[in-house]
């Protein structure tokens, strides 16, 4: 499972949490007001017993009915005020904090969409998803309660201690004594807890990834009857998460036990000392009672610090996880036009293009190097190469899904690095080898290629791609395709992806093996229609088969990350052994007339030239 451990360089929970400020800022007034209201409501809660005491000591004792009525009225008013304040506090923060969560999620989504493809290659979407859901929910809850009560309770403790010291400073010191060891213990706890909390959150992300893959790969799981072993693997992982969570609970139980016991011991010590002082006559019994009741009243605020700290720590790691992704730089926009760069010819030009994946080991050879190609306006170039020769990578450079690491690519003389991505991608349209569709309608999937395409254009694109099956779907263009379009067949998806690529009649077209999943008959029809489209655009077509190559005017052979040869199909077949091998699968060069081992289906095969590659 991929883990993306944070660089643990002296991180502090506070510093992490402070990064939330930009999101909290817009709601700061409400948040502070809510905290203030919380304090006010707590104070009101303290006043109510005073009124009760006043009633008992005054009107009730004096048998004064008017006073009783008045007291009850006061009680009622205070009660109503308290109820409204409590509700008001919640009302104040409910929507704003839901808003903070939503804003952070929207930003995350926005940001992730604009991160380079290389980033997504490395990050399982489950990990990203867990940041966008469970982590953000944790942060909202943190802002709603622990943050407020951390402040309120700390203030209560401080005020309480002032009162304690005012009553008797020696006993106050006794109570204060455990503060130092407690603070040390708390900070030790925080360090340990943050590690475990982080691990738990990462494991949730891994678990999310497994769940997601178990659905995306359900056909394989089913096809191999692996659902039990898959479930076992999941269980092992869930077990690890459980163990981590239990580790968290152990730490929390430990700190909470100490936070409960140590102050209690101090109160006990104060009680014994106080009793002695009372006995000695240096302290009045009333003062001791008052002192101890104040101390006992502080018990809850002190105890709560344990889990408040734990929640803060978890929120801090959630914040870290969130910003870990947010801090990844978005792709560079348009670079400045390089002065003095020689102008290039119109069409699509590759000039000394080199590429190495940003995460590749520095000593590994580049995936592509020294690529020089010139595709003239209106021309179609086929890109042929063995499996893993870098064809798909090369096509990804044109729409800048990956950035060239050397050389440049120009479109009609303009360096693509100097173009805004959106404009570039408007000029260049792509059909991927894996035709991913989205869970939207067929029509929406096709018009993705050009938002302003009218119906006629869509129909034309569909007919180019021979995707007329669309009209027979239950709701035609409005039929929903399932997740990733998986309710359609591979061939249907590929045709829709092709329609999507050509619908906007783009100036430049990049097609990655666009016909691989089509049957021969459909392929022939698509080729015929596609030829007309290609005649008007400048195109690169990755091809595995002669039939696809025939769409192109010229062919470039990619071998070991370099352009090994450029020419027409016939020229390369004649002159280039590797090309002939790729196109025919024959072991050696295409010596015309040479007979290949006879196929079991003997007669018809021998009628076709050997290089056409049907023989086994």
């Amino acid at each position: 499972m991929p883990k993306m451990p944070a660089e643990r360089t002296d991180r502090s929970a506070v510093r992490s949490l402070l990064r939330l400020w930009p999101y909290v800022r817009p709601v700061r007034v409400r948040l502070f007001t809510a905290a203030f209201v919380a304090i006010l409501a707590s104070c009101l809660g303290l006043v109510i017993p005073l009124v009760l005491k006043w009633m008992v000591d005054g009107p009730v004792a004096d048998r004064d009915p008017g006073g009783v009525w008045l007291g009850a009225l006061y009680l009622l008013l205070l009660g109503i005020a308290e109820a409204l304040l409590f509700g008001f506090r919640r009302w104040l923060v409910a929507r704003p904090l839901a808003g903070v969560e939503a804003a952070m999620r929207a930003d995350l989504f926005r940001h992730l969409q604009r991160l380079p493809v290389a980033f997504h290659d490395r990050w399982a979407s489950g990990q990203l998803l867990s940041r966008g859901t469970t982590d953000l929910m944790l942060l909202r809850m943190f802002l709603a309660f622990p943050l407020t009560f951390l402040v309120v309770n700390t203030a209560t403790i401080l005020v309480g201690f002032v009162l304690l010291f005012a009553q008797d400073w020696t006993l106050g010191l006794v109570l204060l004594a455990p503060a130092v060891p407690l603070i040390i213990l708390c900070s030790l706890f925080e360090t340990k807890y943050s590690v475990v909390a982080r691990r738990a959150q990462d494991q949730v992300g891994d678990l999310t990834t497994v769940v997601e893959e178990s659905v995306l790969g359900i056909r394989i799981v089913k096809g191999f009857g692996r659902h039990r072993s898959q479930a076992r693997a999941f269980k092992a992982m869930a077990h690890r998460l459980r163990d981590t969570e239990l580790g968290k609970a152990r730490l929390l139980a430990g700190i909470w036990a100490l936070i409960t016991a140590i102050p209690e011991l101090a109160i006990g010590a104060a009680l014994v000392l106080g009793t002695i002082q009372v006995a000695d006559g240096t302290l009045s019994a009333g003062t001791l009672v008052a002192f101890l009741s104040t101390a006992l009243a502080l018990r809850w605020p002190v105890e709560s610090i344990g889990f408040l700290l734990a929640m803060s720590q978890e929120s801090a790691t959630a914040t870290d996880r969130y910003f870990e992704v947010m801090d990844v730089a978005e792709e560079r926009g348009a670079a400045a036009v390089r002065e003095g760069a020689p102008a290039t010819a119109p069409g699509m030009v590759f000039e000394g293009v080199a590429f190495r994946y940003p995460d590749a080991a520095p000593d590994s050879p580049p995936v592509l190097s020294g690529i020089d190609l010139h595709i003239r306006p209106g021309e179609t170039l086929a890109l042929v190469g063995g499996t893993g020769s870098g064809k798909t990578t090369l096509t990804a450079l044109v729409p800048r899904l990956h950035e060239v690491t050397g050389g440049r690519i120009t479109l009609d003389g303009e360096d693509i690095a100097t173009m805004e991505r959106s404009r570039l991608r408007e000029l260049v349209s792509v059909a991927f080898e894996e035709p991913t569709l989205f869970s939207a309608t067929v029509g929406e999937n096709v018009t993705m290629g050009a938002a302003d395409a009218d119906e006629a254009q869509v129909r034309r694109a569909l007919s180019v791609a021979q995707a007329d099956f669309v009209h027979e779907l239950p709701q035609g263009l409005d039929t929903e395709v399932g997740e990733q379009g998986l309710s359609l067949s591979g061939g249907q998806r590929q045709r829709l992806a092709l329609a999507r690529a050509v619908v906007g009649e783009p100036r430049f077209l990049v097609l990655d093996d666009p016909l691989s999943a089509l049957d021969v008959h459909t392929e022939t029809l698509v080729e015929a229609a596609l030829r007309q489209v290609l005649a008007r655009t400048t195109a690169v077509v990755v091809a595995h088969r002669p039939s696809t190559v025939m769409l192109a005017d010229r062919v470039a052979l990619l071998s070991g990350g370099r352009i090994a040869a450029v020419g027409t199909h016939q020229e390369l077949l004649r002159d280039n052994a590797e090309y002939a091998w790729l196109m025919s699968g024959a072991e050696s060069g295409p010596a015309p007339g040479r007979k290949f081992p006879a196929a079991p289906t003997s007669a018809p095969v021998q009628q076709v030239p050997a290089e056409e590659g049907s023989a086994r």
Binding site: L75, F86, R114, D478
Partner: protein, 627 residues
């Protein structure tokens, strides 16, 4: 010439996928479909039954945890009593130089403090153990059940919703369990003890206090009803957010290439805003509850004080009793906030559990047999087995018939190629043989045994299908191949890879077979993935191998290599090959041409090519395409 073979490869091929959709409500955004609403029906009471079934095995541990908590609370409450004892007895005794009582106070206080701490420690750990074990069980159940459900279920449910069920929905149960027990025990203890004390102090005041529980109960009921709606809406909303999120991240290449970022932002914002509103609604329900319950409580306190005060004035109530009652009254209603918090997490968890129960209530429509039979032992050393379609008819539950009743016998060890146009039923045939679906009528037999009578393990020793989508799971290349047979040794894995021509590219990866497919250098092209998928199938060593357009992304040499390998691989194996590339078909002993669910041509490839039928035409077109 109408025969096109582009149907496919996907277990949910077009014919399936779309006919299935027909019953959906009209319009691009159908509503009313429980899948679209993310609202699978759960039988009544299923939610509570689920919660109970999760907690029942833990009841002993729950009792222990509850006991720890109660004793801990008692230890904490001993403090004030010790203070009273110290002042009343300790001080005078100390003055008489009798240090006994003071020592007793010191020891007692120390014991209570340490005891409270230790019990606290014990309770938190015990509670965490219960909590985590319940979550572990629930996660496991969701996962296992989802894995047992059929493929057409997953196509409609989507991975995003399943993720939502097993993350955010499980998370809400976690909140309930981690705080719920503590809250609930605390609430019950306080209510009961204080109500008893009040009734004991004065029947009248106690009665009013008890009566005030009626509006409180109504309040709670109203809150629960409203909160349940709000939380269900929230859970649905977050699932929609997750679906969009997951889909966008998984399709990031087309998203970027087609400049979908802005429109995705807008679509996501709409979903996200819906969740934000639902989230706010749910939180506000809690605010309403707090206001309402506090108002009732505070009014009741005022009423009781008034009533008590009059009684004192009348002389029917002692002043001291009123004073004590009044002091307890306040504490009577302290737990209502905590009750609110408990209800809050309970409703949130209940909404989530209902969704989970709805998922768990889905019955697999391709169930495993209760009493599986074994395949008969093979006659020779070869793994091959005979396949028979015996009067098989297949229609979707909604009616559309894909395969009219047909019979087919594939002798052991033979290789059959299936070609035909879109919707001809090739994929359905393959899926019936792989038992992704069960036939509506008739039987699919493997060496005379109905597929439905085989255990999953036995079935997959029998039949394995390689599809066009070569999905790779997170993990190493070796692990991905080993999905075919998890107990395979490294030699066997490499052997399978070598047999199919995948070894060279795998060996060239940075860490060879141990290269993580998601880590640096792990980029594997579509063609290479298909080779990995093939190796996976070889390793499984099934009796019957189904290749559903499994070589579409390979280049010609790769395809050649696979075909050469097939000679040895398919030797002694029964194979069904669906392919558009007719070169693949040439390795077959027999070709079936399908149309409208019927077999219209059947014969040896050479025989058909030589004829004038559909296959001969197809073959001609294909030959032309190669020039």
């Amino acid at each position: 010439m109408t025969t096109t073979t582009d149907d496919a490869s996907l277990p949910a091929a077009e014919d399936d996928g779309l006919r299935k959709k027909r019953p959906a409500a009209p319009g691009p955004r159908p509503s009313g479909d429980p899948f679209d609403q993310d609202d699978l029906p759960a039988p009544p009471g299923a939610t509570l039954a689920l919660l109970f079934s999760l907690l029942a095995p833990m009841r002993g541990r729950v009792a222990v945890a509850a006991l720890l908590l109660v004793v801990q609370q008692v230890a904490m409450q001993a403090g004030p009593l010790l203070v009273a004892y110290a002042i009343d007895s300790g001080v005078p005794a100390f003055r008489d130089h009798d240090y006994g009582p003071l020592v007793a106070v010191a020891v007692g206080y120390a014991l209570c403090s340490v005891g409270a701490g230790v019990l606290q420690y014990g309770f938190i750990r015990a509670a965490a153990r219960i909590n985590q074990d319940v979550l572990l069980e629930l996660r496991g159940r969701i996962f296992r059940h989802a894995q047992a459900l059929s493929i057409d279920f997953h196509e409609r449910y989507t991975s995003g919703r399943l993720i939502s069920r097993s993350t955010t929905d499980v998370e809400s149960l976690r909140e309930l369990l981690s705080e719920g027990l503590q809250e609930l025990i605390g609430v019950v203890l306080s209510f009961v003890s204080i109500a008893v004390v009040l009734l004991w102090l004065d029947l009248g005041i106690g009665a009013i206090a008890t009566l005030s529980f009626v509006p409180l109960y109504l309040m709670v009921r109203m809150y629960r009803r409203r909160a349940s709606v709000a939380f269900t809406a929230r859970s649905t909303a977050i699932a929609a957010v997750i679906v969009k999120f997951a889909e966008t991240m998984n399709g990031i290449r087309p998203v970027q290439a087609f400049r979908r970022e802005r429109s995705n932002d807008a679509a996501f914002t709409a979903l996200n805003t819906r969740h934000e509103r639902a989230n706010g609604d749910a939180i506000l329900e809690m605010a309403r509850y707090v206001i309402g319950s506090r108002l009732i409580a505070n009014t009741a306190v005022a009423g009781m004080v008034l009533w008590g005060a009059y009684r004192v004035a009348e002389g029917t109530l002692a002043l001291g009793v009123l004073a004590a009652a009044v002091l307890y009254l306040r504490r009577l209603y302290d737990p209502i906030d905590r009750l609110g918090m408990f209800l809050n997490s309970y409703e949130s968890a209940a909404a989530s559990l209902t969704k989970i129960a709805g998922l768990l209530a889905q019955t697999p429509n391709v169930p495993e047999p209760g009493h599986p039979t074994e395949l008969p032992p093979r006659s020779g050393d070869l793994p091959d087995r005979e396949v028979v379609f015996d009067g098989v008819r297949f229609a979707y539950r909604t009616g559309g018939e894909v395969l009219p009743a047909f019979d087919l016998r594939i002798p052991a060890g033979s290789t059959v190629a299936v070609v035909g146009s879109t919707g001809a039923g090739k994929s359905t045939l393959a899926k019936l043989l792989a038992r992704f679906y069960d036939p509506t009528d008739g039987r699919v037999l493997l060496d005379g045994t109905d597929l439905r009578d085989l255990s999953t393990a036995e079935l997959r020793r029998g039949v394995v299908m390689v599809t066009q989508e070569a999905f790779l799971f997170s993990g190493t290349v070796a692990e991905n191949i080993a999905i075919g047979r998890p107990d395979a040794t490294r030699e066997e894995i490499e052997h399978a890879a070598k047999a199919i021509g995948a070894h060279d590219f795998i060996a060239a990866l940075p860490d060879g077979y141990d290269t993580d497919v998601r880590k640096r250098g792990g980029r594997i092209s579509a063609g290479q993935r298909q080779l990995v998928a093939f190796a996976r199938a070889l390793l499984a060593n099934p009796a019957v191998l189904i290749l559903d357009e499994a070589t579409s992304s390979l280049d010609i040499p790769g395809e050649r290599a696979v075909q050469r390998a097939m000679d040895t691989v398919l030797h002694g194996r029964t194979a069904v090959v669906i392919a558009h590339r007719l070169s693949t078909v040439e390795i077959a002993d027999r070709v079936l041409v399908m149309e409208h669910g019927r077999i219209v041509e059947d014969g040896a490839p050479a025989e058909l090519i030589g004829g004038t039928g559909r296959f001969a035409g197809l073959h001609r077109t294909w030959k032309e395409s190669l020039s």
